[in-house]
């Protein structure tokens, strides 16, 4: 996988397809591979660039505090490092939260914005969900196990969750890192 230096960290990414650039921003704990099902089709129309956010995949994991604004700064620096002046930007969940900051702080860099399962400001309900997720993640050593037990019940309907065989390809988006490093 190619890597590039941006915003004082080394960022890992994948690039597939041809056409206008489409930046795909992952969700919490996932790496660039989380969009494999979309890239398979998007790449027929766009140059799909899916990246690993700081703390996930093969991108650096600095010990300092993160914010969605900082992660947006990373993505803009990443785009500049690749020579991309303007791109379509898409993200799910945390990726959408980052997309909001990116499109509002750097409006000239975004041609279109896709916000999937996003939210404008964390409310007490979402805080409870994520705090519970943190508690479970601390108790687990395996990232795939953490994803299945702590994350997936929130991601999928009970019907889909019970058909775990259909989720196996999704688990590939979670690397074998200590849970403390990726959450």
């Amino acid at each position: 996988m190619p890597k590039v230096k941006a915003n004082s960290i080394t960022m890992n990414y994948d690039q597939q397809g041809t056409g206008e650039p489409l930046i795909l921003i992952p969700y919490l704990s996932a790496d660039h591979a989380c969009y494999a099902f979309q890239v398979a089709e998007y790449a027929e129309h766009f140059t799909c660039i899916s990246l690993d956010l700081r703390g996930t995949g093969e991108t650096d994991n600095p010990a300092s505090a993160y914010s969605t604004e900082l992660l947006a700064d990373d993505v803009v620096a990443f785009m500049r490092a690749l020579g991309i002046a303007k791109a379509h930007v898409s993200g799910l969940s945390l990726g959408a939260a980052i997309g909001m900051w990116l499109a509002s702080k750097y409006p000239n860099t975004v041609k279109s914005l896709s916000l999937h399962s996003g939210w404008p400001k964390t409310d007490p309900y979402l805080t409870a969900v994520i705090t519970g997720f943190q508690v479970m993640a601390k108790a687990m050593e395996s990232v795939p196990e953490m994803a299945i037990l702590a994350l997936f019940p929130w991601c999928f309907t009970p019907e889909l969750f019970c058909h775990q065989a259909r989720l196996h390809p999704v688990i590939g988006s979670f690397r074998a890192k200590p849970t403390s490093a990726v959450c």
Binding site: H45, F46, G55, L70, L71, S90, S104, F156, T157
Partner: protein, 82 residues
């Protein structure tokens, strides 16, 4: 824990009105974490936005209904390409 702490601290409410790019906002009908309770605030504050709901999905329509998700989101992306 840094990423999840960033999620808990996320507040882009005041930023939304500054977004000028054409924006697609989607939710899964049965999502509880980021449910459609957020839809009106996002749609109302992002001036050039459209809302799309994926029926029968929770938080991850990208996996739950891959074909429908790809078809509908590609339609938006292709509309604003070129």
């Amino acid at each position: 824990m840094q990423q999840s702490n960033a999620v808990i601290a996320h507040d882009a409410e005041s930023q939304l009105s500054r977004i000028t790019a054409p924006t697609l906002i989607t939710f899964g009908r049965y999502d509880r974490a980021t449910s459609t309770r957020f839809a009106d605030r996002m749609k109302g504050r992002i001036c050039n936005s459209e809302l799309m709901i994926f029926e029968g999905c929770a938080h991850a329509p990208i996996y739950e209904k891959v074909e429908e998700f790809n078809d509908r989101t590609l339609q938006f992306l292709k509309h604003y390409a070129g």
